[in-house]
């Protein structure tokens, strides 16, 4: 009886020991010097999991016209980065810049300058949430349909203009047309709203921007 236990105990111990050894020494059979007992004749089918290209991000540039209240309509350029959370919802970070012109008052009065040249530079950034309200297709000719979406967007940001940073709300609407699966063309209308007290009295200023851009999904 006792010896049977001993045998069992030793067997268990050996098994454990072997297990531990094999785990420690992950040496391939041919490196140990001995030929493998069975030469496998069937090649294992090599299956590598192909990576699927996930394209939830979008990066793009745009150009257009920005109407700065009291300071004329001027060209604007910018860039944006978008993350598509679901098929409807997306998050957008954008930034742009423009140079504003002299106000009518400055022009008529001749000498009076409200702003220095550097204060006349206009730049902004925005963090916005957008939603594709009307996804659909547009047809060009008889054989081609392009995916499109009409989206609404709104958010918060900062405008640097007239020597100060101004907290800015933005709301807008845009149209996205996709000529290729990874390429989009945008047309956007935005309103940037902020308070400005430059002309003596604080007022809420609306600054409209119309722009077109191109972006890439990756």
């Amino acid at each position: 009886m006792e010896s049977r236990f001993l045998v069992l105990f030793l067997m268990a111990l050996t098994a454990l020991g072997l297990g531990a050894c094999s785990r420690q020494r992950a040496v391939p059979a041919d490196e140990s010097g001995q030929p493998p007992v069975i030469e496998p004749e069937v090649d294992r089918r090599a299956i590598e999991q192909a990576r699927i290209d996930t394209e939830d991000f979008e990066v793009g540039v745009y150009a257009g016209q920005l109407s700065v209240e009291d300071f004329g309509v001027n060209s604007v350029v910018g860039a944006h980065f978008t993350y598509h959370v679901t098929e409807g919802l997306f998050v957008d970070v954008s930034g742009g810049r423009s140079d504003t012109e002299r106000t009518s008052f400055e022009r008529l009065s001749g000498a009076a300058q409200l702003l220095t040249d550097s204060e006349r530079e206009y730049s902004y950034y925005n963090l916005s949430l957008g939603y594709n309200i009307l996804p659909g297709e547009s047809f060009i000719g008889r054989n081609r349909a392009l995916n499109t979406a009409l989206y609404v967007i709104g958010g918060v940001g900062k405008t640097d203009f007239a020597g100060d940073d101004r907290f800015t709300l933005n709301v807008g609407i845009g149209f996205r047309l996709m000529p290729l699966d990874w390429l989009a063309v945008h047309a956007d209308l935005r309103d940037y709203i902020y308070d400005i007290d430059l002309l003596g009295q604080e007022k809420t200023s609306h600054n409209l921007e119309a722009r077109i851009g191109v972006s890439f999904f990756f």
């Binding site: 999991q49 990066v59 598509h84 098929e87 297709e137 995916n147 900062k158 907290f167 990756f218």
Partner: protein
């Protein structure tokens, strides 16, 4: 800004280059009686083709929860994740859809987010990046910009956040941190100097997993600004926003 634009344009070129270098696409076999191909990545797009059981299709790309696939005949369409989950890969195994679920959320390591709120009466916009040191503790770097009536501030803080129930959909967060604040009075005010001060903060908040990588987060933080004047300044901040985990 100009430099920023040129960097982005350069980036675009790189992305395009990497995009074209990919050749191999995943192939799956339809296991359901059929899967539906839509003309676009959205539930409203019309179904224009149905791939039957046994057909092998190529997966080209994924956008949110939609997969663009190509059928042997060469046509391309978009299939929803739910239907893709019921296809087989060449191994005969169920096609593994890398989805985003509550489990992925609890396993996350990185978090990036933005918030908007009120910083002592001023509008504040913040962005942060966080790294999960342990399951409960997250190290975060915050940058913030407070835009007020009389002054603007830029803040930079390092926080350590404690997530009470990291494996639950909703968890309270407790935060301690320190950093600096740079305050510049408005240009229209009588000229005063810019100030740079150290600050410390304590906060509590709540974090909720919404969908995919999307997380909602709202916080209250109490700051003490160590000014060079006689009294320290105390500022309370409320803010809410969203973040993404990776």
């Amino acid at each position: 800004m100009r430099i920023g634009v040129s960097i982005i344009v350069l980036g675009l070129g790189l992305f395009a280059a990497t995009g074209w270098s990919q050749e191999r696409h995943a192939e799956v076999t339809v296991q359901n009686p059929f899967i539906e191909l839509r003309t676009g990545p959205g539930r409203g797009y019309p179904i224009f083709y149905v791939a039957e059981r046994g057909e092998t299709v190529t997966v080209l790309r994924r956008r949110t929860d939609w997969f663009q696939i190509e059928i042997p005949r060469g046509e391309r369409g978009w299939v929803h994740l739910e239907q893709m989950a019921r296809t087989l890969d060449p191994d005969g195994e169920a096609f593994e859809v890398p989805g985003f679920s509550l489990e992925d959320y609890t396993d996350r390591r990185w978090e990036v987010g933005m918030q908007y709120g009120d910083f002592g009466g001023a509008n504040v916009i913040s962005a942060f990046g966080g790294y999960g040191v342990t399951e409960n503790l997250q190290l975060e770097l915050w940058v913030g910009q407070a835009l007020g009536r009389f002054s603007d501030s830029n803040m930079l803080n390092v926080n350590i956040s404690h997530l009470m129930f990291p494996d639950k959909r909703v968890t309270p967060i407790f935060t301690l941190g320190a950093g600096t604040i740079h305050t510049s009075p408005k240009a229209t005010l009588v000229a005063t100097n810019d100030r740079q001060d150290a600050m410390a903060l304590a906060g509590l908040g709540v974090r909720t997993y919404l969908t995919r990588r999307f997380v909602f987060r709202a916080e209250y933080k109490a700051y003490v600004v160590f000014t060079s004047r006689d009294d320290n300044e105390e500022v309370r901040e409320w803010k809410a926003g969203f973040s993404f985990f990776f």
